[in-house]
Symmetry: C2
DNA sequence: CTTTAACTTCACACATTTCTGAAAGAAGCG
DNA sequence: CGCTTCTTTCAGAAATGTGTGAAGTTAAAG
């Protein structure tokens, strides 16, 4: 009835296996959402880690993959702002950390993403013209993305408030 | 200065090429967003078509792919409610149509998607317990998805209103 | 300045995905 | 009831993606 503790030395293997199940399940959903497999597994592992941060070696061992694979995954994750890289001073070890405050934003990929779509739709509207059904249809899509951009901004603000209240008090 | 008309017989090839450019560009962004290539191309072609609907043969020719590929793509698109299938009475031809009203919802994949994530997060929280940093971190993620579910519902309602006013009103 | 530990890059092998051609399966039409 | 037209299924070829090992790069430590 109490198989959820981390600091229990007696069933370390079971615990590790249970963590692994959660990590792989979480990762699978990230994959389904469009993320590639290795970044997904690394991210899930970091989120499930006690400190929210792990070294390359720890990730490599826990996920049973080569350091090269970790390197590639982390490069991607850092690029999209899902993890940050830390250098512990006086050591070559690098430490990767989930960006607690940013990953909600990053998940919705608001900024660049929506802009690109809007550009494409604008071109489509211009190409077909508002006097064609296609043009009007594409224009409506453009409006949807403009609407989304506005709404997602305030949505994330509300989340920040909700979160601060719920945690910080 | 006026190279956007569809009903102009003199430059049909240029027009077709221009449409193709838009379709491929749009499709590429859908792919980037996680959709597989062929469904993305089919969807983009439908959205860019005058009636918002095309037959299998038309898609096959326009996209330069086999009927088999169209079949597979449409099966997927229908499953996720992005297109509907119509049978013109008295013909074996099937006609695929963009679901004008539904595809915004479908794009955000609200329902099933969020539920799955929530389930996974709940299991994570239970596994680690709220007395661990991991557990609290995962719990916050769970709360984010609950928040999102609620907010996206009202967001789509606002969009429906905005859209009705802008078009119908 | 050399050694050594850690991370990164790159070419390649393996796995997966994606599209095609061929054949089978429906559904109108004579 | 068979013929014809369109769609679907399926096995396999081609393209793509993914992770590894080995060599290369960087930076701390001696």
């Amino acid at each position: 009835m109490d198989e959820r503790r981390t600091d229990n030395g007696t069933d370390g293997d079971d615990e590790a296996a249970a963590v692994s199940r959660f990590v792989e399940r979480f990762a699978a959903q990230l994959v389904q959402a469009g993320m590639t497999r290795m970044p997904a597994r690394v991210f899930a592992a970091l989120l499930s880690s006690e400190q929210g941060a792990l070294t390359s070696a720890e990730l490599s061992e826990q996920l049973k993959v080569s350091p090269a694979a970790v390197s590639g995954a982390v490069r991607y994750l850092a690029q999209v702002n899902l993890v940050g890289r830390e250098r512990e001073p006086g050591s070559r070890r690098e430490r990767y950390r989930v960006q607690g405050d940013q990953w909600y934003d990053a998940l919705l990929e608001r900024d660049a993403f929506l802009r690109n779509w809007q550009t494409t739709m604008r071109e489509g509207v211009q190409q077909f013209g508002l006097d064609t059904p296609q043009g009007r249809r594409i224009n409506e899509t453009l409006e949807f993305f403009l609407f989304l951009e506005k709404e997602l901004g305030s949505l994330m603000q509300r989340w920040a408030a909700h979160r601060a209240e719920h945690l910080g008090g």
